[in-house]
Symmetry: C3
Subunit: 665 residues, 3 copies
């Protein structure tokens, strides 16, 4: 039988919840809707293993076989997010504990402690069995490990976790002298004389030491990543294809740079409403940048969401689901799955939008999926043969720094994601500048302009790579709040910004929160006025290579520079001591213009255009995400593969419409 080709379009399916006779109906309906991919097995451990050692995969083979026969690709999931009741009753030591020492009992999900050796063993057991059963099944195109590591619960205070925590610290620091010196434990009598004195951050008088909290966060993130890698090892060794896990970065705050490092591809769940364009783009931009192959959206909302109770809830406007599907694909994806296929008739997520109603009939969203499916058939070859060209601009996203700033937000109201988005990523999106969101390991040489705000902890090797890139011509926009903490989340004893300050011909001479005053600034490049928000560093130049880029007009540092332009050998560094007012991104546009960065094209607000290039063909994907319709000036001519119409210069779109223009010479 022929295997379906990407792009994959479909949903999560839970056949374990339904009588076997309804499965054929569901498959037939999927075919009618143009669905070519279903994701199965996600939480079905107690169906695969009713009692310890009593395995039953027959029902799942049946499902996979029927799907294969129907030319529907299968993504198989490991069910480790939901240990069965018999398991946690028999092995209570695997339960995660909350900070107050109480177990998360059976009844929800994700209640296993990722640091528990017994849990690792039991996980490996079920995963190995699944691999043995399904590794080579031709219907299966990929594997999802677990589900949303860190969702609901992202730390555990079990005895296993605390034991492992101390081992982990010992491995990290070698000896207690080093730990004490690195954390600065002399204050508040926090000095440790034995490893066993080091607590997990459970209840204490006031708050815990920031270095301890930072390392704990990193430790727990590593435990999840390590669990994931263990499953990857088993599945990969057994020959399972395309093994990944499904992330949800803003929500879970684990270090995905670590978690996805060894996985085959990036997958993500995205519940932004179609109208939250910048949010969805942000997801696409890091997924595309993180691995050199198309990413997967393993979950998205077909219509209204709601979780088990009432969570985020929205009704997509007609046409917008299709437009969002194009957005997810155009920027580098090859899979759009919705959650869920047939609505649940029981359990914690009955109140969630779905493709089919629980009684088997299509929901309104289903029609849009069908329509997207038709698009994918028409544009499939083009999508498979092209990719998004490398952007000239990138923004750094650094989860460990977000942990530091989450715990010590410097000023009230600071939120890592929101501030990064509003002042840096969103202005790029709105200016139609193609951009990557990169982790600390991303290559700065790939870009003309790199933004590095809020990277509180700027690892030395990252700094040096960036400076090398600057020497080769990169414009580096750095700060505010970048480089303010050591790798142990402490401040520095000799200056404000550590290695960064040492490397540049400037000194920080003053620091204060902008809260309550938001001092006005003058941008020296065009003498316009702006506003410093959040935090204010005040600089002094150490030589002429450093010139003021912005000067505080009033406030405690009136007349002194709050941002610098630094000629750094071959390139330019723009050092920001404050967060520029997100409402006025003119400063950023001038930097891009100076660096020669151009927008993709001119277009009505709400029309996005994504270039695509391939070995033998090229073109543009355009879609309207605001629902108002409009026009884009395409720098070329071609045919819209969706409508079949010729396009030359101006491309017009109806509300929420999409076009895939293959250039023709």
């Amino acid at each position: 039988m022929p295997k379906p080709l990407p792009p994959y379009l479909g949903a999560a399916y839970y056949p374990e919840a339904w009588p076997v006779e309804t499965i054929d109906d569901d498959i037939a309906r999927a075919q009618e809707l143009g669905i070519n991919c279903l994701r199965v097995g996600e939480f079905a451990w107690s169906r695969m293993e009713r009692r310890e050692g009593e395995y039953d995969f027959g029902w799942l083979h049946h499902v996979v076989d029927r799907l294969g026969a129907a030319e529907i690709a299968v993504v198989m999931c490991t069910p480790t997010a939901t240990p069965p009741a018999w398991l946690t009753r028999r092995y209570p030591e695997v339960l995660a504990l909350s900070a107050d020492g109480r177990p998360y009992g059976h009844g929800g999900r994700r209640h296993a402690c990722p640091a528990s050796p017994k849990w690792r063993e039991l996980s490996a057991g079920i995963v190995s069995r699944m691999a043995a059963e399904f590794a080579t099944d031709p219907a299966i195109i990929g594997w999802q490990i677990d589900n949303e590591f860190g969702c609901h619960i992202n730390e555990s205070f079990s005895q296993s976790a605390i034991t492992r925590w101390r081992q982990w610290l010992r491995k990290l620091y070698g000896d207690l002298d080093t730990l004490n010196a690195s954390w600065g434990t002399e204050l508040w009598s926090q000095y440790y004389t034995e490893w066993d004195e080091i607590p997990a951050p459970v209840q204490c008088g006031y708050q815990h030491h920031p270095s301890l909290r930072f390392r704990w966060k990193q430790f727990m993130s590593e435990m999840y990543a390590e669990s994931c890698r263990e499953q990857y090892g088993i599945l990969s060794a057994a020959g399972c294809p395309n093994v990944t896990t499904d992330g949800m970065p803003n929500f879970h705050r684990l270090d995905y740079e670590d978690m996805f490092r060894d996985l085959d591809l990036i997958a993500n769940n995205c519940y932004f409403p179609p109208e939250q364009y910048a949010g969805i783009v942000g997801e696409c931009d890091w997924m595309r940048a993180a691995k050199p192959r198309p990413y997967w959206f393993t979950e998205s909302a077909t219509g209204w969401t709601g979780g088990g109770q009432v969570g985020s809830l929205y009704l997509p406007r007609p046409g917008s689901v299709r437009a969002r599907g194009w957005l997810m694909t155009a920027l580098g994806g090859e899979m759009v799955l919705y959650w869920l296929y047939r609505g649940h008739w029981s359990g914690q997520e009955m109140l969630h939008g779905s493709v089919l109603h629980p009684w088997g009939e299509p929901t309104p969203g289903a029609q849009e999926i069908a329509s997207l499916g038709e698009d994918f058939v028409k544009a499939g070859d083009f999508l498979r043969n092209t990719r998004v060209p490398g952007p000239q601009v990138a923004v750094h996203y650094h989860t460990p720094s977000s942990w530091i700033l989450d715990h010590e937000p410097q000023v009230p109201g600071f939120q890592y994601d929101r501030c990064l988005n509003e002042s840096f990523h969103r202005p790029l999106v709105e200016a139609n500048i193609l951009r990557d969101v990169i982790w600390s390991g991303g290559n700065p040489r790939d870009y003309k302009v790199l933004f590095t705000p809020f990277m509180a902890c700027l690892p030395a090797e990252v700094l040096h790579e960036i400076l090398d890139a600057v020497r080769e011509g990169l414009t580096w926009v750095v700060g505010p709040l970048t480089g303010i903490r050591s790798e142990d989340a402490t401040r520095f004893r000799h200056n404000a910004l550590g290695d960064l300050e040492d490397a540049l011909p400037i000194r920080v001479v003053q620091q204060f929160p902008a809260t309550g005053i938001d001092p006005p600034v003058i941008w020296t490049d065009n003498c316009t006025r702006g506003k410093a928000t959040l935090w204010c560093d005040v600089f002094e130049a150490e030589d002429d290579a450093a010139q003021p880029l912005a000067i505080y007009e009033s406030g405690p540092a009136a007349g002194k520079p709050g941002a610098m332009t630094i000629d750094f050998v071959g390139g330019t560094i723009k050092l920001l001591g404050f967060l520029p007012d997100p409402a006025d991104p003119g400063w950023l546009r001038r930097i891009l213009a100076d660096a020669g960065v151009e927008p993709v094209c001119q277009a009505t607000e709400g029309i996005a255009v994504v270039p695509r290039i391939g070995a033998s063909e090229r073109g543009w994907i355009a879609f309207d995400w605001k629902g108002l319709g409009g026009h884009a000036v395409i720098p070329g001519a071609g045919t819209d593969l969706l409508s079949g119409a010729p396009v030359c210069g101006v491309l017009s779109l109806f509300p929420y419409d999409a076009a895939v223009v293959r250039e023709e010479p």
Copy 2:
């Protein structure tokens, strides 16, 4: 000595807190104020039984005897809401536990676990002793069991409770296969292989299974009801008259249909300020409908309330306390007791309004009570000889459905009581339509029009009884959110509304939350425009018996019906898929008019008129609850028993005044 006759007017009295010599003063004061009923013994266990087995009822006999001699009726209470310190120290196993496993220790009230066998035994002990002492005391006209079951604490996670919970489930389902199938436990690996795996809803990863939560709620409610029944059995067997317990429905959310089933009469505590007319009416309407005999208000506020700390706090406007007393009585009550008689000088409730100040002098509220007492003397015979005639309209109130919707409110902001009141009960009250609030066991044949909104779980026998009544002419207004869940709180696999949808010639073809759009609708019966709020079902008729009653004007179901009129053999069903805008109840008035339901009479807003009929006399009770005064057109002529004035046609009332018009031919 002559026994006082109803209506009973008085308060709760705590003689255990006062030196014996003040009791005579307090009784004399009560007589001056026209008080003819006091409620005693409520929390006095440690005074009745100082140490285990050391009983002393002498002081209480003294109080009851003195009250009897003063012709003040006594309501005797069992003190089981407050176990003594010696008891919980000696039998810690009787303590209720919070969900985090911590006991509720001695120091407040209601800290015993209703599922504890030892607690049941100890409760039975004190209650039996009280019965032996007081069952035949001629001064005692009734008994109150415990106080406000479910107040403060309405669940317990003790080992006794969890053991009993599993027994209870086993009795309910018989075997685990049935439970697993009924709850749909295949999802999230929630399948149970042993009864002991089933948890109580303590901390878990994310939330618990809705079926488990629903059953747990029902289980705990039954434990309270069972405790109550056990006390009832003892008291009743001993010959105690008028045995009941005091409820507070909106606050405690236990299933009172179950709890009051076997009790002798309905009693309730009501702390609505006089101005919250619709709220107080709502209480009267269910109490009157629930049992064919006058109900009791065992508590109400004389003036400001406040609880021990600062709770709801209001100052009644002069005259309004008397007006509220009339409201409570006119609609079918025969007792108005206030909380409390002489203000506490110690303990958790010092800051609470009272009839007497702690130092024994009357508060301002006392004068209104005296004035109400004079009224009751004048109108006593009429009140005893008449009752409220049966209304033509009823509204369903279904506590189990409220549990389901509390846990899964479908849309943000939904509150069972508020939505039921605002869109259904209050429009009836404001239109001067006499109405009952009935439980699921109420008889639909008693009414012309029955409203059944939000009855998420519509038991089959209830549905069939209603349909039978429709066949006999009932107009049934059903929905929204009625019939959406099985008796296990699951959805259905074959349709949206289960048996209800099966029984009617319609299909639900779409469902979505109204949140954020509140789509406009067109009422087809008069082509006016309305608004769909909360939730939207979309219907399709299966035959001509079903016609659109309202059509969505825009939104995801534009042009499709959101409410249906169904000719159902002899009667009419109005099926609502959305919650009509509470600000515009025109749709409801049209239904009532079509069904031939008439208001009691025309009256100025703020003037309520309640008809009363008896074997040999009839008339109307009228009162002003808004404090503005006004007029009512009485359909007849008679004499106002309070003022002695003749009334013919128009009755005029001063602010907060009342009139009892006995019809004269």
Copy 3:
């Protein structure tokens, strides 16, 4: 070497956090800035005693010696706010427990239970060692015990605490009959038959008995005070000079009247921004009144604060830090220390303003400190030779009453400190009336007018002393909410105000909350209209000595008096039944005028003038705290010691400027 003289100016210094070689730099910098005092040792237990019994004071001797050599006075602190990790691991029984029974583990501060005998022993151990090392060190001018007792945690539910609690109650009441009778435990079956039945206020059904809660609060406060006294005993016996502890009254709510009774002087930490003038004045007014010698400010903010995370955060306006320093000193202080000297590079308080940046350079605040230091040099003799003359007016502050009202605030929104400040203390400050804030033990004979609001529990001996003072001419302004509770926090059985009502020729005949109506009142002394807020007592005169001072104009007590003027032998009592509208303090000004109380002088709003008198010289200290500048009419002539300019009559100040005018005849 010469010892520095007061006023002391400086900061807290944590040399344990820094390499020894930076200490000389820091000392040199301090000398440059005119700093003459540093506070050390505060949290450095684990540096002084690395492991149990391994003492090392060499490093601290080195620091103290260097400071002494630099003529910088040292305040030495005991480090008992931060037990080392080895200690709590070895002696877990010393940990404080939260009400839910969980220990406060190592990692923050203040996690030791003050009632633990082992903890007391361990504290005594380190304190004795410190005393042995440093008691006679000539560089040390004073000692601070612990740090902010009651900060973060102000109660502990450990087994030690509960055992001690019962012993404490037994000592207080002697026998259970007395306790039961005093608390009124008959209600809610709270009667105790054994001491061990009495709980600590941990989780119970609803809330705990108010008498129990009040006594628990008092007990815990005493445990902290007792801990403090034990350290005092050790240090004092060893010859340590000026032994105190640093308070923070509004925040910690311990009974400082008890805690500071035996200490050598009053010390306090004050984080009000300079602009919160009335707040800072309030601190100065109780510190000065509490002990007949200059008080110390052990902590204040140099610039922005923030705690470890983000707490209160403000940027002082230029000049305002110096002005605040003058405020703290003029009103009777001899020490202004800031927190902290060199900013932390690690630990929980990295984000806190400081005198030096972590990298050793001065912050902007440092310049103001230097300027204040110059002032202190110029005005030093005058400050040392004069003191603030005794005010004619005082306001009572009674922590035990605040506990009662905190727990039972009578009406929503009542806050002891805010209401006391807004309606009583602040009007005095704003009218330039010199005033004391006194504890219940303050001597009423020292004043012309005494305000006693909100003293819920008015001890008999305090009442009688005040009445004696009234007989000698005092005007006593008493109420509202004064005298409403017994010493066991109960109400009275015979009247509303207990001994107070018994002593005066009035009766309270009615009481109600003002909430929602705030009835208008007429002041009878000048027929102006005012507003009764919070609470309303209604009075009846028992003879002509009592005349209405204010009458309710409408509401439940229309026409009846809500405040009385009582001729009481030689003096006058103004009895308030309500809280006068804080926005209109005219009533208070008239009372002061009647009593012959005069303001210090006339001055522009924002200019404060404090008189100073000494044996041989006198004068005035003036400063501008609003930053607008202005003028004051000085009742005399002299020389401004800061500018050297002559002053005669009108003194003009620039924004935030200060002047010290020594009178010249």
